[in-house]
Amino acid sequence: MSQVAALHTAVEPAESPLTPESWGKLGMWIFLAGDAMSFGALLAGYGALRYGSADWPLPSKVLGVGLTAFMTFLLICSSVTMVLALAAIQRGDQRGLRKFLSLTVLSGVMFLGMQAYEWTHLIHDGLTLTGNPFGAVLFGTTFFIITGFHGAHVTGGVVYLSCYLIQALRGRLGQGSANAIEIAALYWHFVDLVWILVFTFVYLL
């Protein structure tokens, strides 16, 4: 395949006036803006319910802040490995792409494992969707819905990135796929960004 043909694979049928590089990127940004509204509504609802409750427990007394701080660290690390994977594919470094994409997926899986461990412990202590021995029942409801919704996004991200990792391991991701990896990276960073807010509003405040 000639160099021109190889580069041509990255060119899409029409350019967007918003993002001259890619329609796909614009599409992902619009999706993420909508998704951000879902999280925003959940967090605003959480705030309203908490404000209206007289027996809302202090989250840091009930939830394990140390473990979730480490989970935050893990997601921040995964965002760094994701940008390094993107930088690798942009310069045609296949080995770097495979390494950093693997590390990103691994971080996501570890995050989910820790969330499962945290949930198991909390449920064992009596905190459920409909019960909370530490105070307001809605504390448990909102906690599991918000962290569960985020965990579902992490799961989606792990599946999404794993698909690209499999292609990368088979040597099917050339420099022409950099735009697709950049779009996937946008989703993954969004998941990290949302966790930063969830960690602050649900665990620390």
Binding site: M37, G40, Y51, G52, S79, A136, F199
Partner: protein, 106 residues
Amino acid sequence: MTSAHKQPNYIGVFWWLLALTVLEVGVIFMPLARLLIAILLVGMAMSKAALVAMYFMHLKFERRTLGLIALTPLALCLLLVFALLPDLSATPHRSTEPPQAPATSH
């Protein structure tokens, strides 16, 4: 292509994010007023979110229109908070059931 801009210092951004996370956890154990702790936490969380969006999601290097798309949900969420304000003024209530009175025998 996607790499038209100069790559930012990703590791530098990582250290900032790490430092802010450590500070956030530290702040909740400080003997400060709850309101001050809340302001500091929200400020640091927003700074971290902005760092991720600007540098990792490359918003700093994109066209302004894309930034406006990204800011739209933030504006709508603020609107949502204002819409919830009438509910926030309600008297705080306890959600736990009061202890049941022992059944009296007749």
